[in-house]
């Protein structure tokens, strides 16, 4: 006969027993306790964080305020906003460095390289994510080895390659070359994201008669959009700011040069125009900030909308 009273739970079971109701309230209470326990030290932490923020903001402030100043004021009162300020530097930067054409060239190279990178990285990551064998692991490691090659070390062979391909002094070579430097990180991040896609979704698609490309396009890509957004933004910033290969391979021709190559012509050794240069830098930063803020928000909104529809 069984006893009518339940035996008391053993201590170990008590520890692993499900939590009592109202977890939210309990969590809130804990957080408050934690803040309470930190006491005055939290003010120290806040001060430290704000100091760090100031340290990060100082160069940006210096850049922005310098864009409105004359050379002598930049040197004599570098951080002061109480010097004569002018907008002329922006107009001078735009006209003297032909920044309009240069920025169009930068957009062309950046978007072209971005497109090539994604076109190569998405199928590669898909294959690596699905691969279970030793060959897949080895190929993934080969991609990881790409991190070990410093870009500068590849300069001479890259220049020779562009010459032998007849693509020296062209932007198209950069569109083909830049993805090579971006592929390791892109492939590794995308592979990890695609590995997180539940196998059941792929099985359902296969049962519906989808082929590998359909599975990639309709299952893996939509579910990897957050990571795709991250790599797209990282690559955009990297391609947009690329200087050395653009300088050496595309060259100084005003019709072809990118914004990063055009900017240094605003300030040379014994005739520096730092105000104009700072204004030029701000002009070329605008697209990068636009992509980082507007484009990222839109992509994430699209992901959420797609998830709700699915």
């Amino acid at each position: 006969m069984t006893t009518t009273t339940a035996p008391e739970a053993r201590p170990a079971e008590r520890r692993t027993a499900p939590a009592a109701p109202t977890p939210v309230r309990r969590r809130r209470r804990r957080r408050g306790d934690a803040l309470g326990r930190t006491g005055p030290s939290k003010y120290l932490a806040h001060a430290g964080v704000w100091l760090y923020v100031l340290l990060l903001a100082a160069p940006l402030y210096y850049l922005v305020i310098s864009a409105f100043k004359r050379n002598t004021d930049i040197f004599n009162q570098p951080f002061s906003p109480f010097t004569p300020l002018t907008f002329d530097n922006f107009g001078l930067a735009f006209s003297q460095a032909s920044l309009g054409t240069a920025m169009l060239n930068s957009v062309y190279v950046t978007l072209g390289a971005e497109l090539v990178t994604l076109l190569l990285a998405i199928p590669a990551s898909y294959a690596l994510a699905r691969s279970k064998g030793a060959v897949g692991r080895m190929v993934e490691r080969v991609f990881a080895l790409g991190f070990l090659i410093p870009g500068f070390a590849a300069l001479v062979p890259t220049v020779l390659l562009s010459i032998s391909l007849g693509l020296f002094h062209t932007r198209e070579f950069l569109i083909l070359f830049l993805p090579a430097s971006a592929l390791p990180l892109t492939v590794i991040l995308l592979t990890q994201a695609m590995r997180a896609v539940p196998a059941e979704l792929e099985e359902s698609a296969l049962l519906d008669g989808a082929g590998p490309l359909r599975v990639l396009w309709s299952v893996y890509v939509p579910l990897s959009v957050p990571t795709l957004t991250v790599v797209a933004i990282l690559n955009f910033l990297s391609f947009w700011n690329e200087y050395f290969f653009s300088l050496v391979i595309i060259g100084p021709d005003a019709a072809l040069r990118t914004a990063q190559v055009a900017l240094p012509t605003l300030s040379i050794a014994n005739a520096a125009q730092y105000g104009v240069l700072a204004a030029g830098i701000i002009i070329t930063l605008v697209p990068a900030y636009l992509v980082y803020t507007v484009f990222a928000d839109k992509m994430e909104s699209a992901v959420l909308a797609g998830a709700l529809k699915g």
Partner: protein, 430 residues
């Protein structure tokens, strides 16, 4: 959902590709290499500098006269690197307008440019170039590297108003007077001598002090080979530097100043004395220009020079001909002859403030900038000109010497440490 994704994806992909192609088309440039009717000029005389306007006007006038288009590649400070890479591809510019320093020193020897010994004679330009400029532009193998075009003066600027304000009568003419002036300026709260102690401008002043006791030939040898510690006269120059430094002649923290900071300090009236090159003339306000007397570095009585010394040179810019340029030498000849025309040279001097190397008849009546006028008239009589180090200091030594310069101007550094630092740089470059 599948259809929607597929359509949207295809649309986005096609749109992106179309956008990229459209951008490529709308910002593409033509290929001027090999075009007989186009001369490609690569230069660091950028259109962003107002003083270069006469040069670009001269190119336009040349095109109008001859029908030959001049395509300008503006390269800034990285010109030599970009040119050498394009040379590798056989796509280098036809002509370069750039100075003689660092990598350019070996261009003719390395075959990066064509020696112009014959062309300068055939085209009748040699007669208009001073003999010492031709020597400066000729390398150790006898190659005339380029057509010397523009030079510079590098005087010491003295703000006579600030000097008077501190109770200093007249511009110092000896080391003792300079030390006394610095003391009075400091007492009046005015910074004395300022220059870029950490960069190229300080390096030149360091070398100017180094050669205070050296003859021209001795200076050339020291610049080319080093051996400062073993040279008693060079060591005297370093001792002079230490004397001035320790007497407070240079502004506090001079070892960390850049040329730009130094120039700003003088132009803003914070410092009373600064060695600044002729490229700084356009930056001086009217009042400052009126108060400024151009002079040199005052020296002790036992120095190698009787008057204060200052640099000048003919190596600011020259016209270089590349292997590609030699392929269309007739068009290049027309351009060079046009650029040496009296009208063009006068325009570059009068409007641009650029000092030409070629003889232009000595007519400076059109020079309106007061400091430029002073540098062409009174200044040469006030000073002596020692050897300009740029063309003798090896390219591999020049940049590393900036660090040695900064060390030399740092208080507490002794003469032995300074000379040893310089000699180590020469040894490392061999």
């Amino acid at each position: 959902m599948r259809k929607t994704l597929s359509t949207a994806g295809a649309g986005a992909g096609a749109g992106a590709i179309a956008m990229v192609l459209a951008l490529g088309a709308c910002a593409s440039g033509g290929d001027a290499a090999g075009d007989e009717n186009v001369i490609v000029v690569q230069t660091n005389w950028t259109s962003s500098q107002a003083q270069n306007k006469p040069l670009f006007d001269a190119f336009e006038a040349f095109t109008e006269e001859t029908g030959i288009e001049v395509k300008v590649l503006e390269s800034g400070d990285n010109l030599n690197q970009v040119y050498e890479t394009s040379l590798l591809a056989g796509e280098e510019a036809d002509v370069l307008l750039v100075g003689l320093l660092e990598k350019q020193l070996d261009w003719a020897v390395n075959g990066a440019v064509v020696p112009v010994n014959d062309y300068i004679e055939e085209w009748g330009i040699a007669d208009r170039i001073p003999a010492d400029a031709l020597v400066d532009w000729t390398d150790t193998e006898g190659n005339l590297r380029a057509f010397p075009y523009s030079g510079f003066t590098w005087p010491w600027w003295y703000n006579t108003e600030l000097l008077a304000q501190a109770g200093v009568e007249g511009v110092p003419q000896t080391t003792d007077e300079l030390i006394a002036a610095a003391g009075k300026l400091r007492a009046a709260g005015i910074a004395p001598v300022v220059f870029g102690g950490i960069d190229w401008s300080g390096q030149k002043i360091f070398l100017q002090l180094l050669e205070a006791y050296l003859s021209e030939d001795e200076a050339k040898q020291v610049y080319a080979e080093g051996g400062v510690c073993e040279n008693p006269k060079a060591m005297q120059g370093i001792e002079l530097l230490i004397e001035l430094r320790d007497a407070g002649v240079f502004v506090d923290g001079i070892e960390g100043y850049t040329a730009d900071q130094a120039q700003a300090a003088y132009l803003d009236g914070q410092a009373a004395i600064a060695p600044l090159g002729s490229w700084a003339y356009p930056g001086a306000s009217e009042e400052l220009a009126a108060a400024t007397e151009l002079g040199g570095l005052p020296l002790p009585d036992d120095a190698a020079y009787e008057q204060p010394i200052a640099y000048r040179g003919s190596t600011s810019a020259g016209w270089w001909i590349s292997p590609n340029g030699e392929q269309k030498i007739d068009q290049v000849r027309q351009l060079i002859e046009h650029m040496y025309g009296n009208e063009v040279i006068k325009g570059i001097l009068d409007e641009g403030g650029v000092i030409p190397v070629a003889d232009f008849g000595g007519d400076t009546s059109g020079v309106s900038a007061p400091l430029l006028a002073q540098s062409l008239t009174e200044f040469p009589e006030r000073v002596e000109f020692p050897v300009m180090p740029d063309i003798y200091v090896p390219a591999d030594v020049s940049n590393p010497m900036y660090r040695a310069t900064s060390i030399a101007f740092t208080p507490g550094t002794d003469a032995q440490t300074i000379c040893a630092t310089v000699d180590e740089i020469y040894a490392a470059a061999q």
